[in-house]
């Protein structure tokens, strides 16, 4: 479904990604872990198509198409979703209206019938309850005045409504208390299925107790330096990142 090959990207004059290769198949959950500054968030932004990130090499194929050649909105319409690490506040635009506009753009792109306000509201309420997002937030301006936890739930809520094929969660766990973390994880788990792939970007192993990954990749200085199963996350939790970095620096030892 997603095939990243030797991906390199920079922001302004700083090279962040220095050759990442990663393949995600339908039904798989991949965790991408790594210390601050390793390039985790950049990977998410590049997949979503942020214009500040310039791809300088490599390729990303998504469902057989060149993802890097697509506008951000077209990627979304093709089923790519990024849950933002820092969701953006948009004063003046109601959360419901925003998401209905998004859903209908996607439906239109796919040649499906658009949902009217009534049908959308029914869907939105169902999904809000799923991720335990307070329904009153649906009527508020997008993310404005939301707590950190509410913003993250709102991201997962949007994902639940838009039903992407490939979801990238960028540090969705940061700043969440345990209840919020569980709610977010439950929302994600309810969406796991044979046709959907996930990339879960996180700094800590904690989230992975609730969203159990099929694969774990460790990112360091713009490269994946180690990949393994879910047990790799536990090892990282115990020993920190340093041993892997050292191991990567001295492969012989």
């Amino acid at each position: 479904m997603l095939e990243i090959k030797e991906l390199q990207a920079k922001v302004e004059d700083t090279q962040i990604l220095k050759g990442i290769s990663l393949q995600v198949n339908p039904g798989e959950v991949h965790a991408v872990m790594g210390p601050n500054g390793s390039g985790k968030s950049t990977l998410g932004k590049v997949i979503a198509g942020h214009e500040d990130y310039l791809v300088t090499g490599g390729s990303v194929a998504y469902k057989g198409k060149d993802l890097l050649d697509m506008e951000p909105e077209d990627r979304a319409c093709e089923g790519v979703f990024l849950a933002f690490q820092y969701p953006v506040e948009i004063p003046g635009v109601g959360n419901n209206y925003f998401l209905r506009t998004a859903l209908n753009s996607i439906r239109k792109y796919r040649g499906e019938e658009e949902l009217d306000a009534f049908d959308f509201l029914e869907l939105a309420r169902e999904k809000a309850d799923l991720v335990e997002l307070d329904r009153s937030l649906l009527d508020r301006p997008v993310n404005e005045g939301f707590s950190g936890g509410e913003k993250k739930r709102n991201e997962v809520f949007q994902m639940a409504v838009l039903e992407p094929t490939l979801a990238v969660l960028d540090e969705t766990d940061s700043g969440l208390d345990i209840d919020a973390l569980k709610a977010v994880a439950d929302g994600v788990n309810s969406m796991r299925g044979p046709d959907r792939g996930f990339i879960v970007i996180t700094h800590y192993q904690r989230l992975l107790e609730y969203i159990v990954p099929d694969y774990v990749h460790v990112l360091h200085d713009g490269r994946i330096i180690k990949s393994g199963g879910k047990e790799l996350a536990l090892e990282l939790e115990e020993k920190g990142y340093t041993w892997i970095e050292e191991e990567a620096a001295n492969p012989a030892s």
């Binding site: 979503a48 500040d52 909105e73 979304a76 635009v93 506009t101 996607i106």
Partner: protein, 449 residues
Amino acid sequence: MTAPNAADTQTFLDAYAERGKVDGPEWLASYQEESMKLFRAAGLPLPGSEEWKYTNLAGLRKREFALAGAQPQQITSTDLSELLICDPDGFLAVFVNGVFSAEHSRLPEAGSGIQVEPLSAAIENGSPGVEELVASGKTFGFESFADLNSALFHSGAWIHVTRGAEITEPLYLLHISDSPDGSLMTHPRNVVSLEEGARLTLIEDYLGLGDSAYLSNPFTHFQIADNAGAVHYRLVREGEGSFHVSNLGVRQAGHSSFTSHSFCFSGGVVRNDVAAFLEGEGVECTLNGLTVGRGEEHVDNHTRIIHSQPNCNSWEMYKAVLAEKAHGVFNGKIYVAQDAQKTDAKQSNQALLLSDTAVMDSKPELEIYADDVKCTHGATVGQLNEDGLFYLRSRGIGKEAARVLLVYAFASDLVSGIEHPGLKAGVEALLFEKLPGDCEPAGVTVGAT
């Protein structure tokens, strides 16, 4: 003595001479003569003067203008319904090229608590207070164009709401300018008075047909008695070649309220002056304004709020969305006299520039002589939030639609302040029409409920 820019005023002096003395009472003739003298002495605002620093009238100075005749001008009724911004469920007074059109208007009946008639008729009939109220136009500190209006006005609306009358239907004044030969000028004078405890919603709509030049120079003033309240909407939808220079003066007595929502959607060179005098205790005054400019449109909003009594509140929010080479100006003065303790005044001016060539000049002026007051002001000029744009696009919303949504969001608090649903829908439709790109259908409410 000749004014330094006498040549520029000649076309107005000629029009005044050609028209001659208007029919009517002696006071009117002397009032107009006196006003013409003031205008002639001061002339048009000089380039580079402080109050006109950012607004250049060179284009206006080059032109010659003539008054429309006093005879009713024709438009067809079917045209009219298309020209209205919303269905006027209340009263409607239509003026075409400054002349009242009885045919298209729907005025309230006598004894309904509100009197609306053409100002010329009110003057002719000697409506109580008409002389004093017309003359009070001199007391707002407006110059030049206001004097020109006083000298040359033929009509406009005379609006009087009697004590305690709460007029629930809005009164819609539509001023249409149709100037195919590019020489029309109109000087509508709207005189509004509310007796104690009266309530009124007034819509003033200035609409131009066609792109040729004309001068639209309206002057509206409100006299609001104790405990009375007026809600005022002002729409500028002038033609591309127009010069729209307006003056709005407001006098408020104790515990009265005045709320003005001004929307400028089109016009060549637009200058709006507002002066609100808060002259009793416990007065509330709100001045809101939204400018949407593109092409080479120039919109200059000058406001003055004068707090002279204690315990008054004023709120002011002016926003501008400027695309292409549009130029916006905001000059907001708040004056707090020594006696005006416990004044609470908030002023905010925000501009959104959609191109590198759009310009905004913003100048707050606070002059405060009382020591126990709360006065704040803030001005921001910025571009569309790139993070917001990416966020919307990442959810599948196309680039243009996302831009429109963000611009709409910027303007939404001013649109959502419109209480009249039909007018709100009309303003939303105009806003989307004016913005580039894929537009939402009219009537959607984007903002949070």
